[in-house]
């Protein structure tokens, strides 16, 4: 039996302030369709045994940017324990993004992730002493490297170019949708 992931509490978190009606309209705005759902599901199958290699790339990117590594640090000293704990959940996030239904549990968990980036809950899950918040601007900026670097992994299992493109587009929409939800705690009341 697989070990539970420390701090991963999908299905056991508070209610998101974003309603499923809001999510529906937001999905329409990012042009997210049933076709995207299908392609994401396929992407999940393709990516599930590659998550370690993907995380190596993403951590390589964070590690090579001091201003990003800063968010895992205290006095500019990166906290390895923190980086490791986040990595296990990040790996699960790839699969959840692709294969979990975007229902109330999913919506609630996006809000939980949001709070964990924001000063409301940052560092609490792993009982870490690090900087108090990940600034908003880098959450949204992250959409690009996370999307650009996934394409190679999507094409690693012999799918045709059109299918890889469709999966990549669906991924881009899903990541954008997700990151938007993560910004909720950062935004002034009634302006989200």
């Amino acid at each position: 039996m697989e070990q539970p992931i420390k701090g991963y509490s999908y299905g056991q978190v508070g209610l998101s302030p974003v309603t499923s009606a809001d999510l529906y309209l937001l999905k329409k705005t990012v042009m997210f369709t049933e076709e995207d759902e299908k392609h994401l599901d396929l992407a999940g199958d393709i990516l599930k045994d590659q998550t370690n290699a993907i995380l190596d790339v993403w951590y390589g990117y964070v590690g090579s940017n001091e201003h990003l590594l800063h968010y895992f640090s205290k006095n500019e000293q990166p906290n390895t324990e923190y980086l490791t704990a986040v990595r296990a959940r990040f790996s699960q996030w790839i699969l959840d993004l692709c294969q979990k239904p975007y229902d109330q549990d999913w919506l609630n968990y996006q809000h939980e992730i949001a709070l964990r980036h924001h000063s409301t809950k940052k560092n609490k899950t792993d009982h870490i002493d690090s900087v108090p918040i990940i600034h908003y601007r880098y959450l949204v900026a992250f959409i690009f490297p996370i999307t650009a670097t996934i394409k190679g992994f999507l094409s690693n299992k012999g799918h045709d170019v059109a299918t890889v493109e469709a999966m990549h587009e669906a991924w881009f929409k899903a990541v954008t949708l997700t990151v938007i939800l993560w910004t909720y705690p950062y935004i002034n009341r009634n302006e989200f």
């Binding site: 954008t176 990151v179 910004t183 950062y186 989200f192």
Partner: protein, 218 residues
């Protein structure tokens, strides 16, 4: 002497006509690079780090500039597609609606459209200097309650909800791609221009979000 003065008059006419043409082309409320635009609270140094985080480099500048020539005579068609998307998305039309009646404000839509056309060109020019940075802040304020409706003196809803700003990155960039491909650029160049556009639009939507953020959270 007579010839010279005729030439001088002609030259003056051309200069004046040129200036008028430029003024006529500058839509009302488009204040890029003018003293009417305040200094952005974000610094050029921070902008560099943000661009680095988006993997935005010199090549992207090159490909954005390449897109300028391709897009410059297509802005009307592009705007028709974007406005078509907005029109088919009631949750977006809402932000152009009259505060009292809820009906879309035609003049407001038309005036924004003119500035939007220049925004396409300004994005493709890719000049990331202080004027550019300041204008992103100005655009942010105009989406936000601080300045929404004021530029065009309209009675519309008081704020564009933040969530729709980064969300629009996708329809904007997805629908732009066919226009990038219309002038015979190679598939590889089209892809590179498209990627540079995605990065630039994301970058701008991040900056436009600044007024919405709780203090210290940006």
């Amino acid at each position: 002497m007579k010839k010279k003065s005729l030439l001088t008059t002609l030259a003056a006419c051309i200069i004046v006509t040129g200036t008028y043409a430029q003024i006529a082309k500058t839509p009302p409320g488009y204040t890029y690079g003018t003293h009417q635009v305040a200094q952005s609270p974000f610094s050029l140094n921070d902008l560099k780090l943000l661009q680095q985080s988006l993997l935005f480099g010199e090549d992207d500048i090159k490909y954005l500039k390449m897109s300028h020539d391709i897009l410059k005579d297509q802005t009307n068609d592009i705007l028709n597609v974007w406005y078509g998307f907005v029109a088919s998305t009631p949750q977006l039309v809402y932000f152009f609606g009259n505060k009292t009646t809820g009906k879309p404000e035609g003049d407001y839509l038309a005036r924004v459209k003119e500035r939007f056309a220049l925004w396409i060109l300004q994005t493709a020019e890719a000049n990331y200097d202080q004027n550019w940075l300041n204008y992103q802040y100005e655009i942010g304020l105009r989406h936000y309650s601080a300045k929404k409706n004021r530029t065009d003196n309209v009675n519309s809803v008081p704020v564009i909800y933040y969530r729709y700003i980064p969300a629009l990155t996708i329809p904007i960039t997805t629908t732009l791609k066919p226009f990038l491909a219309k002038k015979g650029a190679s598939a590889d160049d089209v892809d590179k221009m498209y990627n540079a556009w995605v990065k630039s639009v994301l970058l701008q939507s991040i900056l436009w979000g600044q007024p919405y953020m709780k203090k210290g959270d940006f």
